[in-house]
């Protein structure tokens, strides 16, 4: 895992990706009890090409140069299947901008803040997100005022009220 994170940091240093942060289940595990997941979701902002088009192709090209294999939608980065996802909406862009820097052993990386993970679970809205959110809000330490701001900015207040009723 440390080598995986070092490889992600190298992609950022080399400018293949502008910024990255761990999201999804692997980020939730940072704040709550461990649970089963097989994916490492890595959200990225990418430099636009000359035509202003954002593409994941440079990541795949860089991964091939480094000898990382591909399996379906994953790139196997140092033994871990990584799914690179562009921050495709305003909530994800904000989560990526405001992600927390943390240390994994001696390697620095970033994970989404707990309040953004909760908002993303709300926005995604599947049954498993609802169940995870219920456990997450009991186990994680999170800032209610900060979370309220996210709910208001991204139009999620009504769903939150419905889910916690």
């Amino acid at each position: 895992m440390r080598k995986t994170l070092e490889a992600l940091n190298a992609l950022e240093v080399e400018g293949v990706i502008r910024r990255y942060a761990i999201g999804g289940a692997a980020a939730a595990v940072f704040y709550m009890e461990p649970f089963l997941t097989y994916d490492l979701d890595v959200f990225v902002s990418l430099p636009a090409d000359q035509g202003g088009i954002v593409s994941l192709a440079p990541i795949y090209q860089a991964a091939r140069k480094l000898g990382f294999g591909e399996e379906g939608e994953h790139i196997i980065v140092e033994g871990v299947p990584v799914q690179f996802l562009p921050a495709y909406n305003a909530l994800l862009k904000e989560a990526l901008d405001q992600a927390r820097e943390i240390s994994y052993e001696v390697t620095v990386t970033r994970v989404f803040r707990p309040e953004h993970l909760m908002a993303i679970m709300l926005q995604t809205g599947r049954d498993k997100d609802r169940q995870r959110l219920e456990a997450f809000r009991r186990q994680a330490t999170w800032d209610a005022a900060y979370f309220d701001g996210i709910l208001i900015r991204h139009g999620l207040l009504e769903r939150w009220m419905e889910w916690i009723r």
Binding site: M1, V29, F35, L36, T37, G79, V80, R138
Partner: protein
């Protein structure tokens, strides 16, 4: 009625202990939690593969 009260107390104690364990696990370091995730992956992978799902256990060392 006494029996029911005892059962309720016992259940409350068990549920509280489970919640306390979850909170203890949540407080562990990230690398320790990732190691547990990988153990879970190893345990569940044979079942998922038998059902035809392709999964990869993380290689983290």
């Amino acid at each position: 009625m006494d029996g029911m009260d005892t059962l309720n107390d016992e259940l409350k104690r068990i549920l509280a202990a489970k919640e306390a364990r979850r909170l203890r696990l949540a407080a562990e370091s990230y690398p320790a939690k990732i190691r547990k995730v990988v153990r879970l992956q190893s345990m569940v992978a044979p079942i998922l593969r038998a059902r035809g799902r392709r999964v990869r256990v993380w290689s983290i060392e």
